[in-house]
């Protein structure tokens, strides 16, 4: 599949300049810069600030914000909004993420581009509403019923919240897939310098609008690795969208063969383009004895642990997962053959480590450093694991 063309961002949504923002606010700015003009949300700690910022900023950017009655209504409104022609986004946390799952399935099945940011907090259930966790990582992959693929990104700073918001929109438009931004309460509430470039420096992927004759339009394309272009309601295409298993016209087609075609396509369009989607940040991985694989806020603690490990004489590298899903299994498999151990610290009881173990396939030690929700790791625990791995 060829790389999509990009255009400059619409200056109405770009608050160019130097700012001191928290992650939540940076997400809203990123969305506006990416061209998001419709946001349907519901307040939930610690994500509410994103909705509040969008509500405040969008009238001046030609956008619309609506606080819906619950998260389910929010995501339903987003899917409607996307088919009405807008780039759409919402923000939530664990409990809201769980509520949205059925309609995330609808978005995946109907190949609707949308962005959902999950500012993770400790669970399960109501949990610790105001405190950090990384406990929804697997849910981003498996949350809705049935087989499908979604893309998930994980920022480690307010600046990255801005940058990855734009990237999330670009990816969701390119692959017509729901895209998640899995931040957490700490990144969401920490204030840091955020540089917003001028609009002409921001690359935005516009929606792939269909250009051909109306009678030839098909909302879906199940052959090949790319996705069909989109149209919006009101332009006379008279198309149909359904969550039922459907054919390329979008009409219900309830047969086993059709289900195979649809689901294979939903999986293939992401899996076969994984190399183009996956982004990693690697430091000193070449020649390392131990590599620490981490994501989000934990990677900030990891840099201290790695520093200490190097000071202790261990050749340590770090690999930060910027893209969580699709998972970078090829790279991990490659690394596993070269290192003594991979250490995986995360603020949960072991989620991404399961993927690392799967990819490593026993070729090296995999040491998980779990932490319960509510606080970030103490770098010494990660250091201890690195030392363990180096033995």
């Amino acid at each position: 599949m060829s790389m999509p063309k990009t255009v400059a961002a619409d200056p109405k949504g770009v608050l160019a300049g130097y700012h001191f923002l928290d992650g939540d606010h940076a997400l809203a700015e990123g969305a506006l810069a990416a061209g998001c003009r419709f946001f349907a949300g519901y307040p939930i700690t610690p994500s509410t600030e994103t909705a509040e910022r969008f509500a405040e900023r969008c009238p001046n950017a030609g956008g619309l914000f609506i606080q819906m009655e619950d998260e389910i209504a929010s995501i339903a409104a987003l899917i409607g909004g996307a088919w009405g022609g807008q780039k759409v986004m919402t923000v939530t946390s664990g409990p809201g993420f769980s509520l949205m799952m059925e309609n995330i399935g609808l978005a995946a099945m109907t190949e609707t581009p949308l962005v959902i940011a999950n500012v993770q907090r400790a669970g399960p259930s109501t949990g610790l509403p105001t405190l950090v966790a990384q406990q929804d990582m697997m849910q981003a992959r498996w949350g809705s019923h049935g087989d499908y693929r979604a893309i998930a990104l994980c920022p480690d700073s307010p600046q990255e919240c801005f940058d990855l918001a734009i990237e999330a929109f670009n990816l969701s438009e390119t692959y017509r897939v729901p895209t998640f931004i899995m931040t957490d309460e700490t990144v969401g509430h920490m204030h840091e310098k955020v540089v917003i470039p001028p609009a002409d420096k921001i690359k935005v992927v516009p929606r792939n609008w269909y250009q051909g004759p109306k009678s030839d339009y098909r909302p879906y394309k199940f052959t090949g690795k790319d996705v069909a272009p989109m149209v919006k309601a009101g332009d006379g295409y008279r198309f149909h969208v359904t969550g039922l298993t459907h054919d390329e016209r979008g009409y219900p087609a309830l047969t086993v063969e059709q289900n195979k075609k649809v689901v294979t396509h939903l999986i293939e369009k992401i899996d076969s383009n994984a190399d183009k989607i996956i982004r990693l940040e690697e430091k000193d991985v070449d020649g390392a004895e131990v590599v620490v694989v981490s994501y989000g806020i934990t990677s900030r603690i990891v840099s201290k642990a790695v520093q200490d490990a190097k000071a202790a004489g261990i050749k340590t590298g770090s690999l930060r997962l910027i893209t969580i899903w699709p998972f970078a299994e090829k790279r991990i498999r490659e690394l596993a053959g070269k290192v003594k151990a991979i250490v995986v610290p995360e603020i949960n009881y072991g989620q991404m480590v399961l993927e690392v173990e799967r990819a490593a396939a026993g070729k090296c030690k995999v040491i998980s450093v779990n932490h319960c929700g509510g606080a970030v790791h103490d770098p010494d625990t990660i250091l201890a694991a690195i030392k363990e791995g180096a033995k």
Binding site: A76, A77, V241
Partner: protein, 326 residues
């Protein structure tokens, strides 16, 4: 020629050819089901009103009535159970030029979808909601819904329903809907009239159509076939325009008050949004969706079209009166 020469010819010549996805006919609904009649009435309303079909979008939920979206030749959306109304909200707000009509069943709109209904009504969201009320969850085998009358038999109340049902017009009215009407599927022409009125106005319009479910509700309760149901509507439906919505409850096989109960002017959600922003943000604020001159021109055109439509309906009424009088 009473019987069409061929299926192809029938599909081409049928007056529904412009409105239905004829390649998907025949549909899945049961013999005597009221949904097809409602679709007919909707098609008539669309045709008579001369509305731009390219700008008309239909959203439905899950269930027998939910299948309507799949059969109409419009931009149509078959969404998840109960979520047609928030989907329609998003669709309308993303593209305010659209005329959005939600067609779904009583279980979908008022059971799982109840919360969404009352909020869209509260906001006076500009959309038409047509509820085909057959007092049952038909697609799943005849379970009770929030409208099933007390004592009626349903598959999950096999000994008779002991729950209190909603009165849908009362609920809609209390939630803030600005147009509420109820008819039965027998009153197909009145349904057409109400849909026409609803599409021609702004705000949240709710039309309840009582319809038979021959295979489940009628069969379980030994109410006969579709014809018996229509005869029941003929005998027991009472036209009561402007009736107090608190007095229109339906008992099991009891009197059904039909008519237009509520029709009032109220700013729509987007009108309220634009007004507030314009007040607070001043001249800098550009009305959402369109520029100011575009909006003014559109308002002028819409007012003229509404007047023309109202004129057309008045002329039709007069013509009918003349015929009756002559």
């Amino acid at each position: 020629m009473t019987y069409a020469n061929s299926d192809t010819e029938f599909r081409q010549d049928s007056p529904m050819a412009e409105f239905l996805r004829m390649e998907r006919m025949p549909h899945i609904w049961c013999p005597g089901c009221g949904i097809g009649t409602v679709v007919n009435a909707f098609a008539e309303a669309v045709k008579k009103s001369g509305i731009d079909m390219d700008k008309l979008a239909v959203v439905s939920g899950i269930g027998c009535t939910g299948r309507v979206a799949g059969y109409v030749k419009l931009d149509s959306f078959h969404t998840t159970h109960g979520r047609a109304i928030p989907f329609a909200t998003g669709l309308k707000l993303a593209n305010p030029e659209l005329k959005v009509v939600v067609v779904s069943g009583d279980g979908d709109l008022f059971g799982i979808g109840g919360n969404h209904f009352i909020h869209a009504a509260r906001r006076n969201m500009d959309m038409v909601v047509i509820c085909v009320n057959n007092f049952t969850y038909g697609m799943t085998g005849g379970q009770l819904t929030p409208t099933t009358p007390a004592t009626a038999q349903a598959s999950t109340t096999p000994y008779g329903n002991y729950e209190y049902p909603f009165s849908l017009p009362s609920l809609a009215d209390a939630a803030g809907a600005s147009y509420v009407a109820r008819w039965t599927s027998l009153h197909a022409r009145n349904v057409t009239q109400s849909i026409r009125e609803a599409m021609n106005r702004k705000g949240f319009s709710f039309i309840e159509v009582i319809a038979p479910c021959t295979t489940l509700y009628a069969r379980r309760n030994r109410l006969g076939d579709g014809l018996n149901a229509l005869e029941y509507y003929q005998g027991d439906a009472e036209i009561a325009h402007g009736a107090d919505t608190r007095t229109v409850d339906i008992d099991f096989q009891g009197k059904i008050k039909v008519g237009k109960f509520v029709d009032r002017e109220k700013p729509t959600y987007l009108e309220a949004v634009n007004e507030r922003y314009a007040n607070v943000l001043g001249d800098e604020y550009q009305l959402y969706g369109k520029t100011q001159p575009e909006r003014e021109e559109e308002a002028r055109r819409e007012a003229a079209a509404r007047e023309l439509e109202a004129e057309r309906m008045r002329a039709e009424d007069e013509a009918m009166d003349e015929q009756e009088g002559a």
